[in-house]
């Protein structure tokens, strides 16, 4: 009897841990059976390409969530980064693509410093501070794009390399995505900074008692978040070969959702990199599959929403403390 109960609990916790991955597999199978074309390598690679945008932004946003804060400005930061890059190259202010790219990322990293100045140093609740700053950024985006979709024929070919290029048949965007995953996974799992980022989100007062500089860790988290999310903007603009005002906002909700859903994966209740990736894949599989089925587009939002609410609802039920920064106070 006791054995049975224990086994049941083990299976239960296994399902929770791998719910997202199981959902990924089942959906691929279902779509594959219904529409065999879905399983073509080219379509699967397309799914990963789409997931790489949501996933990259989700990992960035997730790092701020890990320290127990929230950055609602990730969409504006992504669009702004792409706009800065496109504008500086288009107007010819920057001679080389790589220089322009680095400059844009440095600027957006400073935006992370600004976010954390208000959220961490002054103590404005982070989601309010970042929301306010994102409005300013929206304004700058409109200024740079002259309030229309940005496109310059003077852009170098490299502009679309990340988004559209291929190396040995594999889309560059996928390779870049894997590299970002690997780097952030290494940071979070292996380094001291990574373990402090998670520890700060879990128990701030404990960290200050053992001599960890909580503010510094949070500021670094905001900067990493802005740079990673900014880079996701560059990936997106490179993929479409233009900069739309809605570039970031079209990704943000899915990205935030991926980070939160990801916290049900592997280590329930804790934001983590692999979880975010698996969750981003899930969103991508759903939207791709729905399109493939020829089903109406709104179904995609409904299904994603249902999966998200089930996932976070489950965490709320099983873990008293919930997700660190879902309690946005």
């Amino acid at each position: 009897m006791a054995d049975k109960g224990k086994k049941g609990a083990e299976i239960g916790s296994f399902i929770t841990k791998y719910f997202l991955l199981i959902a990924d597999a089942i959906l691929i199978l279902v779509f594959g059976i219904l529409r065999p074309g879905f399983l073509q390598p080219i379509n699967l690679l397309d799914i990963i390409s789409t997931a790489s945008l949501v996933g990259t932004m989700g990992m960035g946003a997730g790092i701020v969530m890990m320290v127990g804060e929230m950055n609602f400005g990730v969409a504006a930061e992504a669009t702004l980064t792409a706009s800065i890059l496109g504008w500086s190259l288009g107007k010819g202010y920057m001679p080389a693509y790589v220089a322009a790219l680095l400059a844009a990322l440095v600027l957006i990293g400073l935006m992370g410093v600004l976010d954390s100045f208000f959220a961490v140093i002054l103590g404005v609740p982070a989601f309010i501070a970042t929301l306010a700053i994102s409005k300013i950024n929206d304004g700058f985006v409109r200024l740079l794009t002259e309030n229309k979709t940005m496109y310059y024929s003077s852009w170098p070919e490299l502009f679309t390399f990340i988004g559209q290029g291929k190396i040995a048949g594999i889309p560059v965007i996928t390779i870049v995505f894997v590299l970002i995953i690997a780097a952030l996974w290494f940071l979070m799992e292996k380094t001291r900074l990574g373990s402090y980022i998670e520890a700060v989100g879990n128990n701030q007062s404990c960290c200050s008692h053992v001599g960890i500089n909580v503010r510094k860790v949070k500021i670094i988290a905001f900067v990493i978040c802005s740079v990673v999310c900014g880079f996701s903007g560059i990936m997106a603009s490179s993929k479409t070969a233009n900069v739309m005002n809605t570039l970031g906002s079209s990704l943000m909700m899915d990205a935030m959702a991926a980070a939160m859903m990801g916290a049900t994966f592997l280590r329930p209740g804790r934001f983590n990199i692999p979880g975010t990736v698996v969750a981003a894949l899930l969103t991508s599989i759903i939207s791709n599959g729905i399109i493939f089925m020829g089903a109406p587009d709104f179904l995609k939002d409904m299904i994603s929403g249902v999966i998200l609410i089930i996932a976070v609802g489950y965490i709320a039920m099983t873990r008293k403390e919930g997700l660190p920064s879902v309690k946005m106070g």
Partner: protein, 508 residues
């Protein structure tokens, strides 16, 4: 000659002022080698502030400290750690998902290049465990450990820097009754084995007499006494703790239980909650204070929250004031005359509302017109009366309740609760938690006034057996969700009660 005689730690006239108040006022005493030095006093007496000055968490405003005769100035805890002072704080400071080993070395992880060396962490933790003579699982998340084991993890961390002086701030506050004894033995043994000196902060006198060599008593920021434990009695300690005559005394009239039983307010047999049937046979009569004693989690709070309609139950049925009650939320129960003041004070207040709003929310109907408009004037008058009746200290009725001290908040919570029309039974769940002796005695007086003069039934839930023994007419002991023993006042016996609370009927 001076250098040889210099004590390990010498505190010289140190003072700490916060805006307006002097938290620590020219306190001096010495800590010798390998001694357990207890530091006692009521809440707010300045014990923790004093120790935070010793670790460098607070700056010392006046005076200084000497270690082995050498004057020390700490800017931050890292400085004091270097000369061998380590502190275990009252609140648990652990990262829940990390293992014990990871927690011990949090902030000082051994590295292999840029990678944290998890193997080395485990190895070092094992060594430390051996050194301290403790045995706890090192490789499971600390959130899965019990309170006692978590405490040990923190003590391991404090010892990881091999300190000379270890400060323990109310280490037994989070421990259950059964864990305290072994913990005290551990502290004693560790002190001897490692040749440590320990500053042991507490407000529990029994613990001091069980382990300390010396004791220093603080009251209102001042030192009132330092003595060898063998040369002092408990009474002298208490006297030194309270300074002046803040404690109010009261008499408990003898009860005629036969007569009383005719006036039962409530009678309960069993409740089903959490999928289990719980045997909670009890009754409360008019004009009677009944104590509920048991360990944390023994079902005292759960039982009364169900009765009061706050917590959902699978099945409940009880007699109240002559009628059978089977359901009803807290709103209905308050109308019937049952109210509960919550264990956590923050569950009983609206922190960002003012005093009037906090008092009147319970009486929305009384202070509203037929169409629901609030009658402000009446509410204010009523509030002022409640505040006055209960001796609440406040500066303005418009101030936020969260600006008051815990004791004054409690006075408002209890004060407004007993104003409920046709109140018959009030449950106070840990009403004196975190209060000093003076404030506690006012609560006791309030309870006796409710029973002896106003003929109300009172259920007094507490984890401090002493206060229940002092105040109650009868007592029920809870164990694992059930009531295992009923005692009348003349049968009160500490040993018996503890026996039941710790293990059902072992000593019965």
């Amino acid at each position: 000659m001076m250098a040889d005689a210099a004590p390990l730690l010498s505190i010289k006239e140190i003072t700490k002022k916060f805006t307006g108040i002097t938290a620590v006022d020219h306190v001096s005493f010495d800590i010798g080698n390998n001694e357990i030095h207890a530091l006692i006093g009521e809440n707010g007496a300045g014990k923790s502030t004093l120790c935070k000055m010793l670790t460098g968490e607070y700056n010392i405003d006046e005076g200084h400290i000497e270690i082995n005769g050498e004057e020390m100035h700490f800017k931050e805890p890292a400085d004091s750690m270097k000369v061998g002072i380590s502190m275990v704080y009252q609140e648990r400071n652990l990262v829940g998902y990390m293992t014990a080993a990871q927690n011990v070395f949090l902030g000082s992880e051994p590295m292999k290049g840029i990678v944290v060396d998890q193997k080395e962490i485990q190895k070092k933790a094992e060594k430390l465990q051996e050194y301290l003579g403790v045995n706890i699982p090192l490789d499971v998340p600390v959130e899965k450990l019990g309170a006692g084991e978590q405490q040990l993890v923190e003590i391991m961390r404090a010892n990881s820097t091999t300190p000379q002086i270890l400060i323990l701030d109310e280490p037994t506050a989070s421990l259950g009754e059964g864990e305290i004894g072994p913990f005290l033995n551990f502290v004693k043994k560790m002190t001897k084995d490692l040749d440590l000196s320990v500053i042991y902060i507490t407000h529990k006198l029994e613990e001091i007499f069980a382990i300390a060599d010396k004791v220093t008593v603080m009251a209102d920021g001042k030192k009132t006494l330092t003595a060898n434990i063998s040369e002092i009695t408990q009474e002298e300690c208490v006297k030194a703790m309270i300074r002046g005559d803040k404690i109010k005394t009261f008499d408990i009239p003898k009860k005629d239980y036969k007569e009383l039983e005719k006036k039962k307010v409530i009678e309960v047999n069993e409740l089903t909650y959490g999928g289990k049937e719980h045997d909670v046979q009890f009754y409360v009569c008019k004009g009677e204070a009944v104590g509920f004693y048991g360990l944390v989690g023994s079902g005292r709070t759960e039982t009364m929250e169900i009765i009061s309609g706050i917590r959902p139950a699978d099945k409940k049925e009880f007699m109240f004031d002559g009628e059978t009650v089977t359901g009803g939320d807290s709103f209905k129960m308050i109308q019937k005359g049952i109210i509960l003041t919550p264990e956590l004070r923050r569950d009983g207040i609206f922190p960002s509302l003012n005093l009037v709003e906090n008092v009147c929310t319970l009486f929305v109907k009384k202070f509203a017109t037929a169409i629901g408009m609030i009658k402000k004037k009446e509410g204010v008058d009523f509030t002022l009366e409640v505040l006055k009746k209960n001796g609440t200290k406040y500066t303005s009725r418009n101030q936020l309740i969260s600006e008051l001290s815990g004791g004054n908040m409690q006075k408002i919570i209890i004060g407004r609760s007993i104003e409920v029309e046709n109140l018959k039974l009030i449950t106070m769940d840990e009403p004196t938690a975190g209060m000093d002796l003076g404030a506690k005695s006012e609560i006791y007086l309030k309870i006796r006034n409710l029973t002896d003069n106003l003929e109300k039934g009172v259920i007094f839930i507490s984890s401090e057996l002493e206060e229940l023994l002092k105040v109650c007419d009868r007592m029920y002991v809870f164990y694992e969700g059930n009531i295992v023993k009923e005692l009348k006042r003349e049968e009160f016996d500490k040993e018996v009660i503890l026996g039941y609370a710790l293990g059902g009927a072992v000593n019965g």
